[in-house]
Every structure is written in structure tokens, then in C-alpha cells.
Subunit: 349 residues, 2 copies
């Protein structure tokens, strides 16, 4: 019934507690033979390491915190899974929390994680996150932070897609296709990702013959339902654009649905574009033109970056370098995937 402790192990192996501890941490100063004996005793007694006890003396918890808004969107799911991969490789455990775009809940999660002394935090910030709050929470606790996929200011490390470039790619493509009127639908209004995609898109079509239908009221949840709803509102306004750009592929699912419901065929009557290139997009009918944003690469880089920051905060003993240090902003280069949803479209004469 009682837990096996390191003392039990050391007694069984005929050494001191200290030596057993050194064995655990793979110290080179312990004799191979001793190490073997201790390791055997551990197995024999069924010893399990008590990380909580260790943590009282040791600054490293080997634990990361990951807060994302949700994971129904396969794009976020891939980010989360990749980050867990990186953590797994480096023997970290991961606390996860879903903010559901609610800053209060996000705050609660962060408190809970800090209480458990995570070594580093990866945050995909909720819409309307109060930057200050996050800032001083982490400043006082000294926990390194990397922002993921969205950012609220540039005073933090950040890894995400180059959304401006992504918007530009899609804009240029549609322009080359001869699209004249276009609307952007869906997506959380105040996020950097939404803003940047639109910004890049506008830049690409600026000065041309293409015009953009104002997006007022066409924002919404990044879900199939949100996409269908926004499309409904758009088409109810009376004019039918040449093309619809969905905030993301998951939103495009709803765009397709609403078009079909009205007897419009996506890709023939209206060109449709998306962002992210999630697993299903190539398998839609018609296959969806989209801008791949490589969540696996983003997750990978984000994971490596937080591990790097943790290393620095430990051996650089958190000096004042923090203030003057240049933050890393890693923007992963997107790639256009032209498929049937735009390729088959022809301008009306």
C-alpha cells in the first residue's frame, strides 16, 4: 500500500539516498557497477519516481502548458498533435486546455498551469485576449511563452503562418482567373490571422479591376455552420459575387453547403477558395483551391522554440537580457494549391 521511495531503493541496494539520486539523474561520477545495482533495486521494488518531491528542490518540471482555443478544427488539431510530438520526443508532459475563445477561461487555465509550475507555455490566444494580463502573469512567474498561430502584439516570440503572403497568393490567383467581384466570409473578427489574410488579399488585388464586397457582419465561428451562415447572409444581399474566399477550409465546407442548397455549383457558378489545406479539402467535390499553411511545420518550429527558450531561462539564469533580446517571429511560407473549385470557373462574358 505504501509508496516505494528512493530511501527504500538505496537501502535495498546498500548505498545512500544521495547515490541513488545521482543514478536517477545519470550523473557520470557514479561507478557503473553501483549504478547497475541501484537500477536493479528500483526494478525489483517497483519504484516510481516522484516528480513532485523532486520539484521542491529542482526548478525544472519537465512539463509544458498548451492552451489552444479548440481542436475541432483539424488545423488546430494538427498543431496540438505536433506540439505533443515534440514534447514527447524531449520527455516533456503536456498540460492542455481549450479556451474556446473565452479570455476568462483562458486566464483560469493559465493560473492552473502556473500553479503547477510549467516550464514553458504555448498559447494560441483567444479572440480579445488582454495582452497586459498575459504579460504580467508570465513576467512575475518567469515562464517563457511562445505565441502560436495568432499574436496580439510583437513583444513575444511567435510562430505562425505568413498570413499576409497567404492572402496575397490567393488574391493573385483569383485575379489571374479573371474574377471581378469577391467576398471574404467567416472567421473570428479580431484575430491577427483574419486581419492579415484579408490584408494580403487586398494588397494583391489593389489597382486591378477586382472589387471586394465589404465583410461587415460576415464574420463568425470558424466552423462549417459559421461558413454556411455567413454565405447565407452574403447571398441574401442580392448580388452574387464571382468568387467567395472562405476564412479557412473548415469554413469553406459550409460555403459549399449553402451554395448547393441554393442550386449554385461551387467551382462553376462561383469560384471558392480557402486557407490551410486540411485533410479533407483535396477530397471535396469539387476539390478545394486553398493555400496550404503547414501546421506540422508550424507546430514543429513552435515546439523547438519553446524548448530553446526554456534552456536559455535555465542556464542564462534569467538575466536582464530578456528586455533587449530580439523576439523570434517565425512566419512559415504558405503555398497555393489550385484545384477544381477555382480552376474550373470561367468568367461570364
Amino acid at each position: 500500500m505504501k509508496r516505494v521511495t528512493l530511501s527504500d531503493v538505496s537501502r535495498h541496494a546498500g548505498v545512500s539516498r544521495s547515490t541513488a539520486s545521482l543514478v536517477l539523474n545519470g550523473s557520470p561520477s557514479v561507478a557503473p557497477e553501483t549504478s547497475r545495482r541501484v537500477r536493479e533495486s528500483m526494478k525489483a521494488l517497483g519504484y516510481v519516481y516522484n516528480r513532485h518531491a523532486a520539484m521542491l528542490r529542482n526548478p525544472r518540471s519537465m512539463t509544458l502548458g498548451l492552451v489552444v482555443t479548440e481542436v475541432q478544427n483539424p488545423y488546430f488539431a494538427e498543431l496540438a498533435m505536433t506540439l505533443e510530438d515534440v514534447a514527447d520526443r524531449s520527455n516533456y508532459a503536456v498540460f492542455v486546455g481549450y479556451s474556446r475563445d473565452d479570455p476568462a477561461r483562458q486566464r483560469r487555465l493559465l493560473d492552473r498551469f502556473v500553479e503547477r509550475s510549467i516550464d514553458g507555455l504555448i498559447l494560441l490566444p483567444a479572440d480579445d485576449t488582454e495582452a497586459v494580463e498575459i504579460d504580467d502573469l508570465l513576467a512575475t512567474s518567469g515562464i517563457p511563452l511562445v505565441l502560436l498561430a495568432r499574436h496580439f502584439n510583437l513583444g513575444h516570440d511567435y510562430v505562425g503562418a505568413d498570413n499576409v503572403e497567404a492572402g496575397r497568393l490567393l488574391g493573385e490567383h483569383l485575379r489571374a482567373m479573371g474574377v471581378r467581384t469577391v467576398a471574404m466570409v467567416g472567421g473570428p473578427q479580431h484575430t491577427s490571422a483574419r486581419r492579415e489574410r484579408e490584408e494580403g488579399f487586398r494588397a494583391a488585388i489593389a489597382g486591378g479591376k477586382m472589387s471586394m464586397i465589404p465583410a461587415d457582419g460576415l464574420f463568425g465561428e470558424a466552423t462549417p455552420g459559421g461558413g454556411a451562415e455567413a454565405t447565407r447572409l452574403l447571398l441574401d444581399r442580392g448580388t452574387i459575387p464571382d468568387a467567395i474566399v472562405a476564412y479557412s477550409d473548415i469554413v469553406a465546407v459550409g460555403v459549399y453547403a449553402e451554395l448547393s442548397r441554393r442550386g449554385l455549383e461551387p467551382g462553376r457558378d462561383i469560384a471558392v477558395g480557402g486557407f490551410d489545406d486540411i485533410a479533407g479539402s483535396a477530397h471535396r467535390t469539387p476539390p478545394l483551391t486553398t493555400v496550404a499553411t503547414f501546421p506540422t511545420a508550424i507546430g514543429e518550429k513552435c515546439g523547438e522554440l519553446i524548448l530553446e527558450r526554456i534552456r536559455q531561462s535555465v542556464d542564462g539564469n534569467g538575466g536582464p537580457a530578456l528586455d533587449t533580446r530580439l523576439y523570434t517571429h517565425d512566419l512559415v511560407v504558405p503555398a497555393l494549391r489550385v484545384r477544381g473549385s477555382t480552376a474550373a470557373w470561367r468568367p461570364r462574358r
Copy 2:
């Protein structure tokens, strides 16, 4: 730079450490006025609770472990998110790990969680999980376990869909539609879910005029790609069945794609059915007939059950009741959703 401790707080408030601790734990025996003062000192000094220190004396870590295979599948994503909801409500933090259907990785995750003394574990077991291994890991550590969505034997608590019933519902529907030949495609071969869905389906069509095409080799990843691949293999065999039953809605995405690629229209040339009723399914073209399996309800019940077991293991001080206790097997009742992918289909004369 130094961490604020409970001693600091108590000194500041002019009480003893013990009293401050009592305040933290909301003991009724401390005077309201004292409590207020201590709480103020905490705020003033910026105290953060150190759960690791507490854990040395206190058996509860207020932390759960959740291991699922993956989360790209929105069905699993919903399970994970709902479980995190329940945990959040009860002030638990959640360790998460993705086994990717790899038993070795699953084992590694569990070790990592046990080391950090989780209070309870929720496991969506990997394909080919060694039951014994899990059993004695948890037996020696005394951590309560609830299996989720899949089970490997009945000697554990389990919450999932009633997959047999789900299969039966879809089988009866197709039978009523006049389907004569049908194939089931996709899904991980050795899981209880796959087996049970097929079992229920077969039971429903037994004795009728309907025949099932053997599924040898038609298993695979539960992804759009896996569904497309299995459908390709099936159709390459030469005969075209009246209906295809996808292991899950996410697999059905691939089935649709492969049919379209061959010029077959899902819902008209071949009826298609799925399982789970994920968010996109109602928005496909044609909308997908499926059996809803209510991941939110399952996650909810699963979360409540593990919390219940934790409560029992604490105050029932882990007596021998464990051996004779009856395990809970909670099967959530599924519901058929008839949509265009079968409703529009008509038998060839």
C-alpha cells in the same frame, strides 16, 4: 526573484503558517476576519500556490490524465474537448497525450503521467493495446481508470457509444431502402468499435435478401485518405455494390471523393452511410446519412464517472471493494440521421 511562500504570507498577515494553510483550504474553523486578512496578504504579495509542495503531504493532485489516439478526427476532438470541460468545471488540470495508435507510445505517456501522480486516467486505448500491461500499471499505482470509446475487456469502467445498436440502425435502414449488396470500408481492424458496428449491422440484415461483401483488406486509417483508398480497392474488384457503409463520417469523406473520381454520384449511383454525425456531415453534397453517436454526451458521462471513482478511491480508502465492485459500462444510445446520401437512392430494377 524569489518565490513567495506561505510563510511569507502568514508573516505578513500576522498569523501562523498553519492558519494560512487552513485559509487556503477553506477550513470552516478559521475566523472570517482572519481569513480576510490572510487573503489580502496573499494578493498583496502576489502569492501563487505551490501544488507540488502540497502534494508531498496530500494525496490529491487535482490533475487528470487523458490519452487518446489522435484528435484530427473531429469525433475524438469533441470527446477531448468535452472532457476538458468537465475537468475545468471541477478545477482539475488535464495532461493530454496522443498515442497515435502506438502501444509503446501509449505506455510511455502513461508512465509519464503516473510519475506526476494523476488522480485519474481516461484512456481511449490504442489499437492492439496489451490489456495486462495497463492493468498492472494501474493496479500498482492505484489510479482509477475509465476507458473511453473503445474497450479491450470488460474488467474496467467504460463509456462509449452503443456501437452494436448503431450498426443495427444503419443496417435496418439500408434494408428498408431495398439495398441488396453492401460493403463496409475503413477503420482500425482490431478495435471494439469497428467489430461492434459490423456485428450490429450484420445482425440487422441477417435472414434478409441483403448480402455483405467481405471486408478483407478494406480496413485502414480512419481518415479521408484511408476511406478513399479502401473504396478504390473495393471498386477495383469489379463489382459495384448498392451501398457503402463507411466506418465513420471522416472515412466517408474519402468514399465520396473516390466515387466522384470514378464518375459515380454518391447517393444516386451508390448509397453511402457513415457513423458519428460530425459537424461537416450535414453539409456534404449530398448530406450524409449517418448514425449520431453523441460524443458530447459520452465525454460528459466519462468525465463524471472518473470524478466519481476518484471520490470513492479517496474516502473509501481503497478498500477491497474494488475486486467485487461491478464495473460501469455506459453505452450511449445512438440515433439514425437519414439524409440525401441514402434517401435519394433507388434500387435498380
